[in-house]
């Protein structure tokens, strides 16, 4: 579906530094940086290998730049649908603050700089994974999946799952099982996280012609899928305890957060959230689950940073 609402036919306004920052999707960037940092810190704690603090800082900067670059490319491609949805209509391109071509140029240059910095500061594996994650989000998710399939979030979720693996590879030059467990946590967390939001915003996606699950399969199927993915996520969130990646602190935090996440998923499943006649209470419930899912991911990765970065790791199991 093509929507004739691009930057060309909106009133141009002068771009501020804030517009360029917004182009880089700073909130996503923060989560990406945080999870990459957790991967990096956990790798030093588990393997005992060190990384020069300056090089570690440059590596994290490279991850931030890569995330921003992918965000700019995403905004360039999605300018037409962003203009249609109320939530995204004030973004820099549909508002006319930043020309489309400029966003694409910024995205491409920043991608190259990010990968180069990662390579120079760490190793070719971390740089290759960073390049892969940028291409995965900027091209595969944005241009191939998002407008074609209701599984866009599931498959595309891998893009957001790469940062801890990149952080781990930056330290060790390898990607062992523990790194991929962190990948799996984010991968299986993404669908319930995003679908909780889409239960509230599905009309907007419908207006823009984006085949989100509630638009194509309905609210009930989406609530079922949210519950299913949360059930799958629960043991994966606790898997670091089995490999020894997570200790007591992680165990307590993960157990508590998993229980609450399951509670929210069950409550949303039993509710009418996303239905045409859903009331304010249902919308509030879906938004509460969305907000809690962010806290869940933050809590798990913060626990890893606390354990491995501050010497508070006390093993439970492990092999």
């Amino acid at each position: 579906m093509s929507v004739d609402m691009t930057a060309e036919n909106t009133t141009p306004k002068l771009a501020t530094a804030g517009d360029y920052v917004e182009l880089l999707k700073p909130r996503i960037m923060m989560l990406v940086v945080f999870t990459a940092l957790a991967g990096l810190v956990a790798a030093t704690g588990v393997t005992g290998q060190g990384i020069n603090p300056v090089l570690a800082t440059v590596a994290i900067l490279a991850v931030a730049l890569g995330s921003g670059a992918a965000g700019a490319i995403n905004m360039w491609y999605d300018a037409d649908i962003d203009a249609v949805m109320t939530r995204t209509s004030t973004r820099p391109i549909p508002s006319g603050a930043v020309p489309k071509d400029e966003a694409l140029t910024l995205g491409i240059i920043m991608s190259a700089v990010a990968v180069l910095l990662m390579w120079i500061s760490t190793n070719v594996l971390a740089a290759g994974l960073l390049a892969l994650s940028i291409v995965y989000y900027g091209w595969f998710y944005t241009m191939v999946l998002k407008r074609r399939t209701a599984q866009n979030i599931v498959i595309g979720g891998a893009a957001g799952a790469f940062p801890p693996v990149i952080g781990w590879a930056a330290v060790t030059g390898t990607t062992p099982l523990d790194a991929w467990i962190l990948f799996a946590i984010i991968f299986f967390w993404t669908p319930p996280h995003f679908w909780a939001l889409s239960l509230v915003a599905h009309k907007e996606y419908e207006k823009a012609g984006v085949p989100m699950l509630p638009v194509t399969q309905g609210a009930k199927a989406t609530r079922n899928q949210i519950l299913l993915y949360t059930i799958i996520l629960a043991p994966i969130g606790l898997a670091p305890l089995a490999t020894g990646l997570g200790g007591w602190v992680y165990g307590v935090v993960a157990a508590a957060l998993t229980l609450v996440f399951m509670y929210f998923a069950a409550k949303v499943w039993r509710s009418e959230a996303g239905e045409p006649d859903a009331g304010a209470a249902e919308r509030k419930l879906a938004m509460s689950m969305f907000a809690f899912s962010i806290l869940y991911l933050f809590g798990l990765f913060a626990a890893l940073i606390i354990e491995h970065g501050f010497g508070l790791y006390f093993a439970i199991g492990g092999f």
Binding site: T16, N52, V54, V58, V113, I120, V124, G173, T174
Partner: protein, 98 residues
């Protein structure tokens, strides 16, 4: 005779100011990039053990076993080199004694 200044509308003046600000940010980013590359390279060169299996910019492995094998190979090469040197030294010593 002094030429009269062409009228500049407020919008283009604001655009020019915004462009100058952007140029300054770009310049700062370029300087930052050069500094980061320079410092990172210096640190990497200082930390790299060129006598062993370290490769400055190609040291990533998808597989832990592959890395361990490469490290073992590098160690074996290093040991062989040392043994060769030791043999040459002892040979030289023996020749000198004779």
């Amino acid at each position: 005779m002094a030429e009269s200044k062409p009228p500049v509308d407020e919008q283009s003046e604001l655009q020019l100011k915004a462009q100058k600000r952007r140029n300054l940010w770009l310049a700062a980013a370029l300087v930052g990039f050069v500094v980061i590359v320079g410092v990172s390279t210096a640190i990497r060169i200082q930390e790299t053990d060129f006598s062993g299996g370290d490769r400055l910019y190609f040291s990533g492995y998808l597989d832990e076993a592959e890395k361990e094998a490469a490290d073992r190979e590098a160690e074996a090469r290093y040991d062989a080199l040392k043994a060769e040197e030791a043999a040459a030294r002892s040979e030289a010593q023996e020749t000198g004694d004779e």
